[in-house]
Symmetry: C2
Subunit: 281 residues, 2 copies
Amino acid sequence: MDIVRRVFPMRETCRQVRGTQRRIGFVPTMGALHDGHLELVRRVRELSDTVVVSVFVNPTQFGPNEDLERYPQDLARDADLLIRERVDYLFAPERDDMYPVGPATEVEVSELSTRLEGASRPGHFRGVATVVLKLFEIVRPHVAAFGQKDAQQVAVVRRMVRDLMLDVEILVVPTVRDADGVALSSRNAYLSSDERRSARALPRALDAVREAYASGMRDPEALRRTGRAVLEAEPLLRIDYFEIVDRDDFTPAVEASDRDLAVTAVYAGATRLLDNAPLGG
Amino acid sequence: MDIVRRVFPMRETCRQVRGTQRRIGFVPTMGALHDGHLELVRRVRELSDTVVVSVFVNPTQFGPNEDLERYPQDLARDADLLIRERVDYLFAPERDDMYPVGPATEVEVSELSTRLEGASRPGHFRGVATVVLKLFEIVRPHVAAFGQKDAQQVAVVRRMVRDLMLDVEILVVPTVRDADGVALSSRNAYLSSDERRSARALPRALDAVREAYASGMRDPEALRRTGRAVLEAEPLLRIDYFEIVDRDDFTPAVEASDRDLAVTAVYAGATRLLDNAPLGG
């Protein structure tokens, strides 16, 4: 595996790979890799000849009071994990190389970007969309993989790809969970053992909503109450939101249907945890 | 020359052309072609193997009270002109194909986009940047040509290319002028013969400023007065702006230098005319 630290050599390498008619698969990450990321790598490999993984803690998607400076980073460990997955290129650019002159040009995926996560984290999805576009322009992948765990990010990226007519296939990979049902996340490393135990309430709340839906409950407010009740029983958790929304535009459901997601964000101490599940299927 | 009316066949064709290692040159236009556009075609041809010209009157770069609905359109005439220039593909997409679901995702080139033209035409450069990016994604040119006549558009496109790391070379082609010095523009067709005569004051004003600069005048305010005086002598013209600005970020000059432009926008009746000239060289 080659580790590439600069934008221009990465672009040049990818250009050469494309020139030999090999399909490029791409997984953008912020590092601190876990099995959820590695599952993205495995799935994208099945659809491509050359696999590029980026590790870049993108400053523009963090708010001023968020965890940018303490976000876990261990490039050597990430590299080891990716070598075992037979990744071809690890792209780990420096901040100054990705943003040489500050983020002057930005990509705004309107409406969708302002709801739920976007409301809690103003500017977050603008930062995500902009950096994903930049990474796509450098790597020019045929296929790029994203985890369903970040459901609204998936919706934002898909919408950007459609609206800007980007020539890339977006592969969405189901959430990977620990044995106790908790979705894998780099931020789980922040949790105390008590908080970690409380975090099991997220998948339990989503399961309770799915069961209620399967039993015929269609009123979004009743479904929300069902999910929130499970979370509210945990004293270490504080709910940011628990909603039933359309999976594409994240508008609140009027009557719940198979195309909706239950989505939630919860604080355990200072740590923000996300999870989601489709109501149908 | 093939005329392509749909996004997906155009993308597929360009993908095949790139696969044969041919360089793609691209000229985005709004049609109503004149010799200024054809000069872009000729110059881009020198740098590429296959030339694609788009004709698309982009609705998102027009303001609500602007000339979108009366903007001159004559695709048959444009096609004839492009055939004579041995253009390979004329891409003339339908509005519904370029904006199937409305302009949800937009590219915002901040600051620069809000000055001068951006102040007079709010949202204009957001529309320009977004459609240029979309066209780039469809055509994926190696080189794309823009006219210096629209100097701030050039600056916006260059900034977008740099910030978003787009893999395309931007070729800027000097303004083509009629024998009387008036810059060629599709909007010149709107002018009455009296207005057309008055329009000669634009190049005269720019020449006066260049001469004053060459004689040592460095005070931007004095240079502005010099240019405005020429325009104000024409009763049929109304000045929107006449400024001395940095050619890259369009900030007002503090002390005029070779890297500055004199830029002006003037109304002749309802018609808005642009022109600019570098102070140095």
